[in-house]
Amino acid sequence: MDENYLKYRKLKNSIFHFVILLVTILAVAMLFWLFFDIFKKGLPWLTQQFLSGYPSRFPKKAGVVPGLVGSVYIIFLTILFSVPVGLGCAIYLEEYAKNNRFTGFIKINISNLAGTPSIVYGLLGLAVFVNTFRFGRSILSGALTMSLVVLPIVIVASQEAIKSVPQFLRHGSYALGSTKWQTIRKIVIPTAMPGILTGIILSISRALGETAPIIMVGAYSFVSSLPENILDSFTALPIQIYDWTGRPQADFKGVAAAGIIVLMGLLLTVNAAAIVIRNKFQKSLD
């Protein structure tokens, strides 16, 4: 009887092992299904015309250029706004702030911002940047809104990176008579650079794919000329994909899939670049 009970328990263990392995593989299989499906639908539409053309009412003439240009503008400005602020905030919290209630409040506030849906940031952007500051439905409004969306990502990644800088490096710097700011500038930030870069790359990826906030601040889906300055109206790659997906003609579904392939290609490039840059930094430190 005991022997049988032991066998039963071992059998249960093996079954459990099999089931959770299967479930994990199933989750990974979803990824392959998704990639396969999108490539199958999108590849025929990924033509020269698509990569160099402008939006059109006809699927065969539709192009991705204004979306790409708009996304590049948004990403560039978002990084310009969010990185100094996010890094500064992380430096303050990790290097300067005393461990008191005020600091605790800022930390809880940041973790709450990280959990706030991006559409709520879109409402903030609509109320503040578009209507109150009167930046209108412009690249500037979109980029400011997006900066706030990615700010918690930059802060948290930079905080982790700064925390991982060993204490003896700081002490060495102080012992040589440096001020805190000199220590941060010359020792802490360079040492934390790989982690900070990871955060920046994560926020670029997020800003590339994030759709809801810039729909709210009024990105247009049909833009026939490229923006000339940051107060111009704009479109972005995910907005184009959204627009094509929603069109009734079946062919536009293929165009949307082609847009998704371009978007995922960009995401892959950015992340690959990140790994290369990070390895380079890490080597130079070692």
Binding site: T24, L34, G115, T245
Partner: protein, 309 residues
Amino acid sequence: MFIMIRDMISKRLSERTSRMKLANTTAKNIFLFFALISVFTTIGIILSLFINSTGFFSKVSIVEFLTGTQWTPLFSDRHFGILPLVTGTLIITAGAAVISIPVGLCSAIYLSEYAKPKIRKVLKPFLEVLAGIPSIVYGYFALTAITPLLQSLIPQTEIFNAASGSIAVGIMTIPLVSSLSEDALRAVPDSLRHGALALGSTKLETSLRVVVPAAISGISASFVLAVSRAIGETMIVTIASGARPNFTLNPLESVQTMTAFIVQASQGDNPHGTTGFYALFAVGLVLFLITLIMNIISHSIVQKYRKEY
């Protein structure tokens, strides 16, 4: 002569020191200001939602808003009862949780307790990629791949339906549950596992009766975060689940979530100053408060049950 030179040097040095000190305080103040920007953001969100909602609540009573079962802001016979949007959000969220929580937890247990390091190294990056795919892509996938599959299984499925949206949201939040739960499981010290195994437990018994209970705070926090993410998810449901505020719990019908309404209304003809425009912010306020409460819950779970090993 010597004294003059000495004085000059010491003056230079003290000037330099005070310049360094000035730079030090300036830097500190600038960083403090940057840290405060995150607080300003929260204040900005709360103020813009509240102020614009007052324009709405001066026309519509709060009781009607919270208990009405009709949401028809664009019809001539206008009703502003948020319940259809809430039930829409509810089925999407429940459906997503039914997928993401069991699948996420199973993969977390597998990766942390069962998988050999080599297999873990292969599988984990794939799950992480799943988390990095933009929601617009999942929306497209839901509409063009999941919905046709559902329709071939159950013919009465509508083109826009809650089920396909919630499946996609579920897939998207699997990595959130699995990676946070896995972190929690891996944080459980090996001494506990060894103790259980030494008493003759199988790996299954060790995992489910010792390791999972020890990591329960991190695991449940990951569940709450996944649910909170599903509530706020926008593009998937806007694309795949339709735009019909439908007071129903039938997942095969078209529904509208709170987030999908916000997108729809911002694109339509709701000039600044109309009740329809302010309705955006009233719904946004409800959404923000719900996710805020969820965030606080997950935070306090982690705080309360934090175990010191």
